[in-house]
Symmetry: C2
Subunit: 86 residues, 2 copies
Amino acid sequence: MYVVMVYDVSVDRVAKVLQIGRRYLTWVQNSVLEGELSPAQLARLKAEVAKAIEPTDAVRFYVLPSRAVLRIDTLGQQKNEPGQIL
Amino acid sequence: MYVVMVYDVSVDRVAKVLQIGRRYLTWVQNSVLEGELSPAQLARLKAEVAKAIEPTDAVRFYVLPSRAVLRIDTLGQQKNEPGQIL
């Protein structure tokens, strides 16, 4: 499945949430990560993020059956793309 | 089509980009808006955002054939949902 994670967390917890997200997904834009995950990986990612955040934080996971159903249009600067070799 | 817009723009331009986004989509989380758009509406939204931002800003539009292909999992606070009556 293809997952887009968007987080809005307190500045105290941004580094931790980003660090967790990067272990599973590719950072593409400020507070946005993307990538292919198995259902088990997504469950682990969510469990780790849930432990790191507070109830006032907000995180959304957009879960798609595959990258193929998704079109991504961008404006402005492209910071990174999943699958890009750095 | 179902559209998720995520923006990362300079603080000087946040209010303008949010104002444009809200005319087409529903705000769901800091810097994230969602909703159903026709291809023509998406084209207009992108044209308006393109005029409002600078090359250092970044905006991503995730474009899906329909809301039905998308699962949205959330953690923490749910701020708003498209279709919710306020």
